[in-house]
Subunit: 347 residues, 2 copies
DNA sequence: ATTTAGCACTCAGAGATGTAGAGTGCTAAG
DNA sequence: CTTAGCACTCTACATCTCTGAGTGCTAAAT
């Protein structure tokens, strides 16, 4: 029971037909589509074998066949030929990036939105923060008499700010003092090191100012945590509404998408160039009808985030995979360009 | 053909029953629910009149009746008694606000999310920027050798930043120069005044530095525009999935919600305490099956944003209206408290 | 050993038919 | 003005039948 080239071609045809039409594919149709001159009966025999091997499924006795998980898997791993992007497509994508806001988090969001547009899928973009991400700069900015703004710039380009009301009367002097004192202690330090414990050691060193600044240190901790937890964008969710086979689940999917922690925990971690998780391979009810593709981008060679795509199982993998890869590559080069080599300057 | 009190009671009962069950209400059920001792036949006669007056609709001949637009309108304006919040409910809402991030835009988003939770509707929160909103402070912060961050604080508490790559080598001196020069020209100025034209007059005054700083002034303009365009949050969209009568439209609604401009243009501008727009009164396909309620909040008496609610037509108006009103009141008081009286301090 | 034609078989989906139940509208009497 | 009574209408649901698509198997052909 081996897979000769005809059987592979049949499986490929079934996948590609099903991807286009969302309808089970029958032996007669395959016979017409394949150039080989064999009758539908022969195809039926082959299909029966593919079925026995678990590569095909049958919605009901008298229907055509659709690919199973394993069928898609085999198709993706062995059969499909990725269709590389044309130079026009590349140019189009490039120009989408050109008009995006270059802030890293907005860039990420923009990239996700563009990818969603291009693939008619939902897309997801995340950052994760390897050890090496540190604080480039912290600044305390007076807003009014009893309100200050804490601004933190991380070495991966992420910028966060937070408004804090304080009990003392805000002056520029106080802000400058806090800024330079805390900067001195935090600048260049890995985000992972900035624990509540470490901050409390700063608090001790602040001596008489400690009580005054403690709430601010708490906010600093929250900001660091936010950056460390990573950014997270989902775009193009409404694209999923266009797939009738997802109609039952799309509600649950949208609800899932509101739960950042849960969705993050579900993303694949296989660390291939592109991870592909098909249907029930996702260990989650809500995604059992979908495929998830995930690629990584890096800054200066250091992996620092993912961009991915959530769509129906019947996805045009041969076209979508190169697109996703290209997006990851562009993100890498843009971010490396902006935040790659340079170390932050001191004030 | 006048509306005696019995007819009003019947209409009220129909609305309230329909809101609970989503099923047409028949004469027999009404007879049971009303305390008045009249037979279902009498009720039928009254219902026929209400129908003739356009206050009721009939899904099909042998079904009960459901309220029409006009029926809901009359109910809301004349019949319903708002059910005020209990002190426990108020306390619960207060405590939701206590744990929110006090940044005005995050507060807005948090409030919208809490309201969505509480009402099982989608919620919308916007700011709009009256004449009086001005720039409290602008600051240029060096990020690395060729990257700076522009930070703008507006008098309504909104904070925006933008990363800019520049052609010159960034130093603190340059940043301080730009900050103080531009601050001097912009601080306290209404956002509406900050046109491209006005900025170019600053550019002229910058003399030899003009070419260097022009891209930054462009970014300043974009930031002002962003603030002026207002914030915009929609939360709890997935709540709409729980109403079977919206199942057909919820897809289109979700798509609509991604189009900020379009949805903003659809919000009512009647400027009542709370505007209520029912079903087809919305001049939009997508919202023809929904009701939109909108309240305004203010900072120090100056109206500066809206919070609202999008749900099915059969909404428990008597409970929902007071909730929405209460949210608007809390927002007003919190924001006034934080940003109301104080003028921004100079550096 | 592989391929093919032929045919019986299965099943989903669309239509047709029938029934029960809810609710109305009307009429005539109270 | 209210009510009882009754014929009428329409939906929702279940049952049945028919049709077409597509299979699985067998026996013959290559």
């Amino acid at each position: 029971m081996d897979l000769d080239s005809r059987k592979l071609k049949i499986l490929g045809t079934i996948v590609e037909q099903y991807v286009n039409t969302a309808e089970p594919v029958g032996s007669k149709r395959i016979a017409e589509l394949l150039n080989i001159n064999v009758s539908s009966a022969t195809i039926r025999n082959d299909m029966a074998m593919l079925f026995d091997m678990g590569l095909l499924e049958q919605p009901h006795t008298s229907a055509g066949r659709i690919p199973s998980h394993l069928g898609y898997r085999l198709y993706i791993n062995e059969i499909m030929n990725c269709i590389p992007l044309s130079s026009e497509q590349m140019a189009e994508i490039q120009s989408m990036f050109n008009i995006m806001n270059p802030d890293p988090d907005k860039l990420l969001k923009g990239a996700a939105a563009a990818l969603a547009d291009l693939t008619n899928c939902a897309t997801i973009a995340t950052t994760f923060t390897p050890e090496s991400i540190h604080i480039s700069k912290l600044q305390l900015i007076p807003a009014n008499d009893n309100t200050v703004i804490i601004l933190i710039i991380a070495s991966n380009g992420v910028i966060k700010n937070k408004v804090c009301r304080v009990m003392f009367r805000v002056t520029s002097q106080i802000c400058e003092f806090f800024t330079s004192f805390v900067n001195y202690r935090l600048q260049g330090r890995s985000l992972n090191e900035i624990s509540m414990w470490y901050l409390s050691s700063i608090s001790v060193d602040l001596g008489e100012y400690s009580r005054m600044f403690n709430p601010l240190l708490g906010s600093v901790y929250e900001l660091c945590k936010e950056i460390n937890d990573g950014q997270f964008y989902i775009e193009g969710q409404t694209n999923l509404l266009s797939y009738p086979e997802l109609a039952n689940m799309v509600g649950d999917m949208l609800v899932l998408f509101t739960d950042k922690q849960k969705i993050l925990s579900m993303l694949p971690r296989d660390n291939n160039d592109i991870d592909v998780v098909i249907g029930k391979e996702n260990n989650s009810m809500e995604l059992s009808g979908s495929s998830v593709l995930l690629a990584r981008y890096d800054i200066g060679g250091q992996k620092c985030g993912t961009i991915g795509l959530i769509g129906p199982i019947r996805l045009d993998y041969a076209r979508v995979v190169p697109k996703l890869q290209y997006f990851a590559n562009i993100l890498s080069s843009l971010l490396t360009d902006a935040f790659g080599q340079q170390e932050p300057r001191g004030e």
